[in-house]
């Protein structure tokens, strides 16, 4: 069977020690996988490897059985929105249409492009905001715009980097509920350092701190949390309780 995403013995270093080492991971076609781990642990790097933004130093990354560069039309990528420039002169509708950008030139978008963007806007409940400038949106609304832009690609694998960081709990729950609905037609991989809340929604978590430490469904045990986060275990378990 073909997996939406598979990493085999993947290692990667920027300039120096390996950030990701010997990671092997597979994601099913309708799975919602949470990639969790401490900051600087390599989760975002794994996501960038999957998106084809980085090439592994060793090992193999395959998206639906093909290298990421050949599977671009099946991948929707949602970057960390917290670092996004909010003052860019663009409306919600225009930003979502940029999901359709590709090699073709010209000023006008095709009817197919507009239709795909329209569906993505509807699915993320952005209809009423579509003419608003990005600068007038809340954090949660901006996050939905970036998800809509990725959905406009009509992907079968959606990759999200910290989609819920700096959102309030209600906005976070909305985003996660949307992502779990999407799994009926695509695989979803999201990176999060916020373990507690995410585990309520994802079907499986992969814990990454340079290497893949665990790979399982259900509750995370205290022992695993200790391996993953070292001393910060207590604080995280507290977060988990308050999040439920």
């Amino acid at each position: 069977m073909t997996h939406a995403l598979s990493l085999r013995n993947v290692s990667f270093a920027y300039d120096g020690p390996a950030v990701v080492e010997d990671v092997t991971l597979e994601v099913g076609e309708h799975e919602l996988l949470g990639l969790i781990g401490p900051n600087g642990g390599g989760k975002s790097t794994v996501l960038k490897l999957a998106a084809g933004l980085l090439r592994p130093d060793s090992g193999e990354v395959l998206v639906f059985g093909r290298p990421p560069a050949e599977a671009r039309d099946r991948v929707g990528y949602v970057p960390q929105f917290a670092r996004f420039p909010r003052d860019f002169p663009i409306t919600v509708a225009q930003a979502v249409l940029l999901g359709r950008v590709g090699g073709r030139s010209g000023l006008r978008w095709s009817a197919g492009d507009r239709a795909a963007a329209g569906r993505a806007i509807e699915e993320t409940s952005l209809g009423e905001l579509s003419r608003r400038p990005l600068s007038a949106l809340s954090g949660g609304e901006l996050q939905r715009v970036l998800i809509a832009r990725a959905l406009a690609v009509e992907p079968r694998l959606l990759l999200l980097d910290e989609p819920t960081s700096s959102l309030d709990q209600r906005a976070e729950a909305d985003v996660l509920a949307l992502l779990s609905r999407l799994t009926d037609r695509m695989a979803v991989v999201l990176v999060s350092h916020d373990v507690g809340f995410v585990t309520e929604y994802v079907q499986r978590v992969a814990c990454i701190n340079r290497t893949l430490l665990c790979h399982q469904t259900g509750e995370l045990t205290g022992e695993l949390m200790r391996d993953l986060y070292g001393h910060s275990v207590r604080a995280i378990q507290h977060d988990h309780r308050s999040g439920t």
Binding site: V75, P79, D87, P89, I90, T91, A95, L98, V101
Partner: protein, 270 residues
Amino acid sequence: MTGFLGALVEHEFLQRALAGGLLASIGCGVVGSYVVVQRISLLAGAIAHAVLGGMGVAWYFGAPPLAGALAAAVIAALVIGGVKLRFAEREDTAISAIWALGMAIGILFISRTPGYSVDLMGYLFGNLLMISSGDLGLIVALDAVVLLLVLVFFRQFLAVCFDAEFAQVRGLHVERYYLLLLVLVALTVVMLIQVVGLILVIALMTLPAAIAGRFIHSLAAMMALATLLGAVFTTGGLALSYAPDLPSGPVIIVVAGMAYLLAAAFGRPR
């Protein structure tokens, strides 16, 4: 102001000056909008100043200075772009070095060329009243190239400026578009040097777009409004400078700068 209008009807050099300002406003508004949203005014400044190197060399060898400017601007844009893409962590030092090196080379070559000083001031601070019909032809040609490239690659440029990482995932050759954008900046620098001189180029390139950006929520509309503002500033500066016989370049920049401060003080906060 009526004096200016009367003189405008009478003197061909004033008509050329007005046309030069209006034509350069097009490149200025379009490319200036990219410079503002991409936050690359430091790069634009470095390209503008490095251009003096090419002008000095051209002068020394008896070639047209603007041809040297054009070559130097494009080379500086590609070198600066390469530095920015490869050595992001040391880019400000490298860019400042190119900025200063270009000027130093220019001054050295000019010092070895007899009879330079009047023209040097013109290229540093602009002399719109001295613009020739050949210069106007060059501005028209550069406008045409800029507009054509922007029309053809509008969506790609928008995607790369808005979110280069996402554009790369979509398969765009982000670095190529980035370098092409810097080449557009270089072409615009050469246009604007004739209006306000290379030292004041950054101001004319960024101020109209920065004002437009406070009121506008689409890049295309920002370009249109910035072009209009550029036309108002160059025309207004030219008219104000005429009667008291002030240098037009600095007056244009003062007008643009005052408008920017007013927009910042009374415009909608962003």
